[in-house]
């Protein structure tokens, strides 16, 4: 029984931690999502439409839809190929939102599923100051 109690208290602790994390994120991401401009991106085999996006600095919401027939991803990379943010598990038909706060600069967006980027799933994102 002690084991169950300990597991339960550990579970409680992780819940609190996760809710805390969610709450911290909520103050910024929540408010920005309501005012952020929306960019719709369609992913299919093997391209993003559009392949070039131009937005102003600040929060932007990407509405990424998988219009293809296999799983895709949408990953925004900075100039050093560091992951800015991403949407994974985009199965056919699914639309998932991604709100990011972007600083001016040039970014790329890619699909990191095996071979997809090399086959052409790559776009350029320009953020103006």
């Amino acid at each position: 029984m002690a084991v169950v109690r300990q597991a339960a208290s550990a579970a409680g602790l992780i819940t609190l931690l996760a809710i805390g994390l969610a709450a911290c994120g909520g103050s910024t991401a929540g408010s920005s999502a309501s005012t952020a401009p929306v960019v719709r991106i369609s992913a299919s085999e093997y391209a993003f439409d559009p392949a070039t996006v131009d937005v102003g600095a600040g929060p932007v919401t990407f509405e990424v839809t998988n219009a293809g027939t296999v799983e895709h991803e949408f990953e925004i990379l900075d100039a050093d190929d560091g992951v800015v943010d991403e949407v994974e598990g985009l199965v056919p038909g699914l639309t998932r939102d991604l709100t990011v706060d972007l600083e001016p600069g040039t970014y790329t967006y890619v699909c990191r599923i095996a071979g997809h980027e090399a086959a052409g799933m790559k776009g350029t994102l320009t953020v103006d100051g």
Partner: protein
């Protein structure tokens, strides 16, 4: 439907494998009384994932990549640690066995061992649980994804659970020594894959530098194919891993496998035999 099936199968296979082996192990050493506690660990992980998933969706909508990948990376490292401990603990129990005299290990499952098995079942499920719940909630709330998408996902999870049950049932039939050896070796590959996965997650979170390509097998066996998905779910197979991921995999696999297969006890036997 099919892509969702394999996505969810991939997410669920590893947890099903680990929990299936734990349950089979407990049944083999005559500790079926522990099974409800393991089930409790699994239920706690599922419940926690659902609660956190719903809270996240209701408040921020999604987790920023840094938070999600950091959580996944740390959970992966925790799973590697507990799994490694369990491997060598199970191996000690296995060595203590005389042939099929399985009852010899009854007394050996102390409070610490029981705790670790329940904790491992919890970590294994919780690690993939949150991502799975967030994915299913997205499928349910997305207008474009039809019911068949949800059904495909649930069938994938059901297949994973069935795989875990098959291990539990099948584990009761094989020779106990074989069971220890085979599950041990399989779990070492799982743990090595978990470590490489943790490296990948911490890299995506930006906490470590993890870039480049060690080798590219996308033309041979892409990890997006059904077989690639299954190998990825179970053993962390990637068709285009980074050098750091390969190094992490080998740094774990080679020494642990060596220790496990030709470790101290056999050395001791050799000393006794020659002395």
């Amino acid at each position: 439907m099919i892509p969702t099936y394999f996505l969810m199968l991939r997410e669920g296979l590893e947890a099903a494998l680990i929990v299936g082996i734990i349950a089979a192990y407990l049944a083999r050493i005559g500790r079926r009384d522990m099974l409800p506690m393991v089930a409790g660990g699994v239920a706690a992980a599922v419940g926690l994932s659902v609660v956190v998933g719903v809270v996240v969706v209701a408040t921020v909508g999604r987790l920023p990549v840094v938070v999600q990948e950091t959580l996944e990376g740390l959970a992966g490292l925790a799973a590697v640690a507990v799994l490694t401990w369990m491997l060598f603990w199970m191996r000690r129990q296995g060595r203590a066995l005389k042939g099929e005299l399985e009852h010899g290990v009854d007394a050996a499952l102390g409070a610490g061992g029981a705790m670790a098995l329940v904790a491992l079942a919890f970590v294994a499920v919780a690690r993939e649980g949150l991502e799975t719940v967030l994915f299913l909630l997205a499928v349910i709330t997305s207008a474009g994804a039809g019911v068949d998408t949800l059904i495909g996902g649930l069938l994938g999870l059901a297949t994973a659970v069935g795989f875990g049950l098959a291990i539990f049932v099948g584990g009761a039939r094989v020779n106990l020594r074989q069971f220890f050896t085979v599950t041990g070796v399989v779990l070492i590959f799982v743990a090595a894959g978990l470590l490489a996965f943790a490296v990948g997650a911490l890299g995506e979170a930006g906490l470590i530098v993890n870039s480049g390509t060690a080798y590219n097998l996308n033309g041979v066996l892409p990890d997006s194919t059904p077989l690639g998905n299954i190998l990825r779910g179970l053993f962390g197979y990637r068709s285009q891993p980074t050098p750091l991921e390969v190094v992490a995999y080998l740094l774990y696999l080679v020494p642990v496998l060596t220790l496990f297969v030709v470790g101290r006890p056999s050395l001791r036997r050799r000393v006794v035999a020659t002395g």
